[in-house]
């Protein structure tokens, strides 16, 4: 297990370096010149050149990258071009909100997905199954923007049950988490359903029924643990995805997450922020997958014995 984790950690570092290199190169290839954007339209070419020099953009690409990686190893993500402040605090300030929304979103997704997936699997082929699959299809194909505004309009603007916007209390989390959860639950429901159908056909399930166990114990106690594996892998992926920001949901609910920071930085070619957010998201994806790998053996004895 220790060897496995060590191997995964080395891989993680290499992945992050690779992501940094690719992002750096892509941003370098953009036609937009950050120095021109910063210098403003009153600037003379000399002023633009002076700013380019201050930012170190007059150095060869390899030198710029080595410089960046060197700072990165000291935990220094550089300074934002437009905000003229350290990037790390900007990201850290938005991390709590991002984490809260990620966790809440995943909880809603998994709770809804599991419940409906199991019901559909047990009632396979019946009206309930078809209704659930239909709903999950609507869920996965609805645009976030529409669902977010709809929930906001009904539950916040009209009924007034939840605040319309902001971050801070548990009530603020409900609607954004529900938006993410409702939309993501469809995937989970479909996956749980097919995994469960697979498992419910197995001999040991028939044996359990034959022993006289109740339907509930057979499904939840015997079948479900064997169907959980793909769900865990998917949660790992979602951790990464939600950590890289859910721009639309953040925008509608005024949620101060990482997505808004990234979106604005891209508009302004604020390279240090784009790099920082990309690396944090890459780290989250790596960690999310690592977590899934780590949890899987506890849930599934078959992996433990390998």
């Amino acid at each position: 297990m220790a060897a496995f984790l060590a191997r995964r950690l080395v891989q993680a570092v290499l992945i992050l370096l690779g992501v940094a290199a690719i992002t750096f190169l892509l941003l370098y290839c953009l036609p937009a010149d950050p120095a021109v954007l910063i210098a403003g339209r009153s600037a003379t070419p000399q002023m633009v050149a002076a700013i380019r020099h201050e930012l170190g953009l007059d150095q060869p690409l390899v030198m710029q990258f080595l410089h960046y990686v060197g700072n990165l190893l000291h935990g220094d993500l550089g300074r934002s071009y437009t905000q003229k402040t350290e990037v790390l605090p900007l990201i850290l300030a938005r991390l709590p909100a991002t984490l809260v929304l990620m966790a809440a979103g995943i909880v809603v997704e998994v709770a809804l997905g599991l419940t409906f997936g199991i019901i559909a699997a047990v009632r396979r082929g019946g009206f309930v199954d078809r209704a659930i699959m239909m709903l999950s299809f609507v869920g996965v194909s609805s645009p976030q923007f529409v669902v977010a505004l709809l929930l906001l309009y009904v539950f916040a603007a009209t009924l007034g049950w939840f605040p319309m916007s902001g971050f801070g209390t548990a009530r603020h989390v409900v609607l954004p988490a529900l938006t993410l959860g409702v939309l993501g639950a469809g995937w989970y429901a479909r996956m749980v359903r097919s995994a469960m159908i697979e498992v419910l056909r197995q001999d040991y399930v028939r044996t359990a029924h034959a022993k006289g166990l109740t339907g509930r114990r057979v499904v939840l106690g015997h079948a479900l643990p064997n169907a959980l594996l793909p769900i865990i892998a998917m949660v790992g992926i979602d951790i990464g995805q939600f950590m890289s920001g859910v721009v639309v949901v953040e925008a509608v609910y005024g949620w101060p997450g990482i997505g808004q920071l990234a979106w604005q930085a891209i508009q302004q070619v604020d390279v240090p922020i784009i790099m920082g957010v990309t690396l944090v998201s890459a780290l989250a994806i790596v960690l999310g997958n690592l977590l899934a790998d780590f949890v899987a053996p506890f849930v599934d004895p078959r992996i433990r014995s390998q």
Partner: protein, 542 residues
């Protein structure tokens, strides 16, 4: 004598500026007190006056800091601020300001002439990486500072604690406008140094408000400065800026009374609906600003190197139809300058929409069968739709324009690359005048000096004769010859369009702000020509 007249002039300005609140009195008496909430979609990048240069932070920086001179609320008229009076030498090169005594930064220290000098040097210094450095180019020594060979500006002298003298390398009629820009705000050196590179998040000034709290990505709270040297302002006790707010949601919150000013205004799709709805009566401020949206015609790219072709495409565009596409939120433009700008030529009507005449001109230019070209545009709505309308109009005279819709920074990059973009639609790139002076629409976007790589003269237009006329106009002393100077500029812009037509001026976009019913004061302080929102002048009705 000359000196005396100017003093009197400023004294008169001071008197009228003191009368500003009284002027509103017949409509509404500004009441003091109240805490208001303002929303924006984008986060606030910085509150450093040497750095901040977008329309969200511009108003806030303006309210946090003070400058030697400033505009009277809601107008384009300059008046005294930190300076009580000033003198200009007869050659127009030396400006001497007498500062108002007893003004303090909010850290308690007195504001001195040395602070003025240090603050402007900071704005010019390339190490600050500020976008305002270019405005101070006429101060002696600015070029050395840009080149990195000097750390101070020899053209600024603190004569004594309350007298500051500027020496210019050439007369600059816009110099007072430049000193009223946020970039010329006075900052305390010790606070900048204490912030250790983070002054933009920990600003200290001597303006109407102080920053009390900044929760990144969420809100900024500004409190009234009780020691502000203009006693009758500001009126509100505080304003809180909530960021990350989707404009549609901001409007819903405005309706529920949770928000007082929706800073992003009304999304185009909702504009007509809200404008017609009685529910929103008195809540929508819709005003002209110092803006022109235009298409640049690259005078170095074939066939736009031929003035006849540029004139022809000017006649091909149906501006009324384009204005309808954006729900009438703009007025068709006849010329480079927007109507509110001094020097706007009332008599010049521009190129009328006339596809037949356009085709005839193309034939004269030897392009009977038209030609193929490209038009660059920002890729955010409604800009691509507007560009499509332009494309259709051009197709009607046989010009096949391919649309290149890219992100804003890439439009700027394409425009500033020699020989690349034949046409650029400027919409969505925030082209609003820095100050109410016609020269601001020439130098940075039409002058020879800006027809360079990375410049903003995307027509790559350079007419040496016009450049010389501009210099002559800018050497005219202001205010003594302001009228004559504005006339000279009006003629310059009209001649540019009639003879060379490097632009298709398409429309002048209006700004729209939505405010709650309890907010008082005239529209012009919510869409102030130089400040956007004038936080000093707005108030809450009791």
């Amino acid at each position: 004598m000359n000196r005396f007249v100017k003093r009197i002039g400023l004294a008169a300005l001071l008197a009228t500026s003191a009368l500003v609140p009284a002027k509103f009195a017949f409509a509404d008496t500004p009441t003091n007190g109240g805490d208001i909430i303002v929303t924006y979609k984008d986060d606030i990048a910085t509150l450093d006056p040497a750095v901040g240069y977008d329309w969200q932070n511009w108003s806030m920086i303006n309210a946090l800091f003070s400058r030697l001179v400033d505009y009277k609320p809601g107008t384009t008229e300059l008046g005294p601020s930190l300076a009580d009076s000033y003198d200009v030498s007869d050659d127009g090169k030396v400006y001497t300001f007498k500062m108002h005594p007893g003004v303090k930064f909010t850290n308690g220290r007195a504001v001195t002439a040395a602070d003025v000098k240090w603050s402007i040097e900071r704005a010019v210094n390339p190490k600050t990486q500020g976008p305002g450095a270019g405005f101070f180019h006429s101060i002696v020594g600015a070029d050395k500072m840009t080149a990195g060979t000097a750390d101070t500006l020899e053209g600024i002298t603190a004569v004594d604690d309350h007298t500051v003298k500027f020496t210019l390398s050439q007369p600059d009629a816009t110099f007072l406008n430049v000193l009223a820009l946020n970039f010329a705000s006075v900052v305390p050196k010790e606070a900048v140094e204490a912030a250790n590179g983070d002054f933009g998040k920990h600003p200290v000034g001597s303006g109407a408000f102080t920053l009390k709290e900044w929760t990144i990505g969420q809100r900024l709270v500004f409190l009234k400065n009780p020691d502000y040297f203009i006693k009758e302002r500001p009126h509100v006790d505080s304003f809180t800026v909530e960021v990350g707010q989707e404009p549609l949601v901001a409007l819903l919150r405005l309706q529920k009374g949770e928000v007082d000013i929706a800073g992003d205004g009304i999304p185009p799709a909702k504009y007509l609906e809200m404008k017609k709805s009685p529910e929103f009566e008195g809540m929508i401020v819709d005003r002209q600003q110092l803006e022109t949206s235009y298409v640049t015609l690259n005078t170095q790219v074939k066939p736009f190197d031929n003035a006849k072709v540029r004139q022809a495409v000017n006649m091909a565009i149906n501006k009324d139809r384009i204005v309808r596409i954006i729900n009438g939120r703009a007025t068709p433009a006849s010329q480079v300058l927007p109507p509110l700008m001094p020097g706007y030529d009332q008599n010049y009507k521009g190129y009328a929409y006339d596809p037949e005449k356009a085709k005839a001109l193309l034939t004269e230019a030897g392009l009977k069968d038209g030609f193929a070209t490209q038009i660059y545009t920002s890729n955010t709505d409604p800009q691509p739709r507007i560009t499509q309308a332009i494309q259709q109009d051009l197709a009607a005279i046989g010009v096949k324009a391919e649309i290149k819709a890219v992100a804003n920074p890439n439009v700027i990059a394409a425009g500033g690359t020699q020989g690349q973009a034949p046409m650029v639609w400027s919409g969505g790139l925030g082209w609003i005048a820095d100050f109410p002076d016609p020269s601001d629409f020439y130098g940075p976007i039409l002058g020879c000096g800006s027809a360079v790589a990375g410049g903003w003269n995307w027509s790559w237009y350079c007419n040496k004769d016009i450049d010389a006329r501009g210099q002559t106009a800018d050497a005219m002393p202001v205010p003594a010859k302001a009228e004559e100077r504005n006339k000279a500029w009006a003629q310059i812009f009209t001649d540019i369009q009639i003879n060379d037509a490097p632009w298709i001026p398409v429309f002048n976009e209006r700004r729209v702000v939505a405010k709650s019913k309890r907010m008082g004061g005239p529209d012009e302080i919510y869409i102030d020509p130089t400040r956007v929102i004038d936080y000093e002048a707005i108030y809450v009705n009791k």
